[in-house]
Symmetry: C2
Subunit: 231 residues, 2 copies
């Protein structure tokens, strides 16, 4: 009998993290989902994460932290607008104001605590370094460095009882690849939320980087976004 | 005119972090203090941190996070007792149950976010690898790894505008060295709190690892602990 393999899956409720979760399950992992209610203006994504974890029938924890107390981002500060209608060229011009200082470092740190307690060997995170917004903490070198840290930071790492792997199955995929992979695994992407700046009823703005990258992904994959088909 | 140098100082309210803060100030840093209300059973240390930051006249933020949701430690779980009356030999026998999974990784991650927003170049943390409880995330190799991560994780690291240093002035000091250093810098150690398991009125138990290490430090330094002189 094979040993039970557990993974922590960071689940924002978006397209990428949901597809990553589906990949982890497809690999046979028992998945524990972890989301963050961090003061993001698109807090509605947490509700999407809850629906997705429920659909998969998985344990799900939502960590409440207030990253607004530090500010410094359009996603958590009230005074900074989310950029709209940027083209692919503009998106590659440096790190945008939607970058949240140290966010993935913080998220992975909590995932590491959770992994240590439940005995998970793998932490899945849906970062992507192709069709992305240029965030420093989505790059492969950041992930490799965190993996190294994780194995020095923990009891299991020190005692040599379990090695922690940070898993990023999407990191070299295009957005179209991700949409195709989700379709192949039967993921209901109508449950996900991607927009940084939804209206009060939760509808995506269609113009922020996240909406534009999502649209590009579906178009290039030749598939319809079920989210846009909703009434 | 010299450039203003800012530092984030992790301040638990104990002997080590308070002495570390005094060292950072002595080096000429503008210090921003950061504490965590994380569900620790000795939550009273947060009040000590507030008094200390106030005494120094410094900006101080308290991050509220719930590490009880993961458990796995005598400091955050209700079902695990804090060990008492261990001798120095017993303290070196592996990682004790007071270890909180990934705690310093989480604390440093928040400090990194704070550093990025205020433009701090240095993060001070009062870890010690001599008279300590054997926690994996107090070791020099962990700190070096986090420093490497910090410079990959952030905008300033990527753009090469500012390098982040993780500063651990106490790491190779004995507890007696730390007590002497605090005295030399005029730190009022009567403001600090070290005990893992205080009684309801906040008095130290005198028997947990933290109390025992503190007592040893004062004894070897030939100084009286002002905390024990209080009525």
């Amino acid at each position: 009998m094979n040993e039970r393999r557990c993974a922590i899956c960071l689940l924002s409720g978006g397209l990428d993290s949901t597809t990553t979760l589906a990949i982890a399950r497809d690999e046979g992992f028992d998945c524990y989902c972890l989301s963050f209610d961090y003061g993001q203006r698109h807090r509605i994504e947490v509700d999407a994460a809850k629906r997705i974890a429920q659909r998969f029938g998985l344990e799900h924890r939502v960590v409440k932290i207030d990253l607004r107390m530090f500010g410094g981002s359009a996603l958590t500060g009230n005074g900074i607008d989310v950029p709209k209608d940027r083209d692919a060229g503009e998106m590659t011009l440096g790190i945008p104001v939607t970058y949240v200082p140290a966010r993935n470092t913080i998220f992975l740190s909590f995932a590491l605590a959770y992994a240590e307690v439940v005995g998970a060997s793998d932490i899945f995170i849906g970062v992507n370094a192709i069709d992305y917004s240029g965030y420093p903490d989505c790059r492969p070198e950041f992930i490799r460095s965190f993996e190294q840290l994780a194995n020095l930071a923990t009891k299991s790492g020190v005692e040599g009882t379990r090695r922690i792997a940070i898993r990023t199955p999407l990191i070299e995929m295009t957005k179209a690849d991700i949409v195709r992979k989700a379709a192949e695994l039967g993921v209901d992407l109508g449950l996900t939320h991607s927009c940084y700046d939804p209206d009060d009823s939760g509808h995506p703005c269609g113009r922020c980087d996240s909406c534009l990258l999502r649209r590009k992904g579906f178009e290039e994959a030749g598939l319809a976004d079920p989210l846009l088909a909703l009434p």
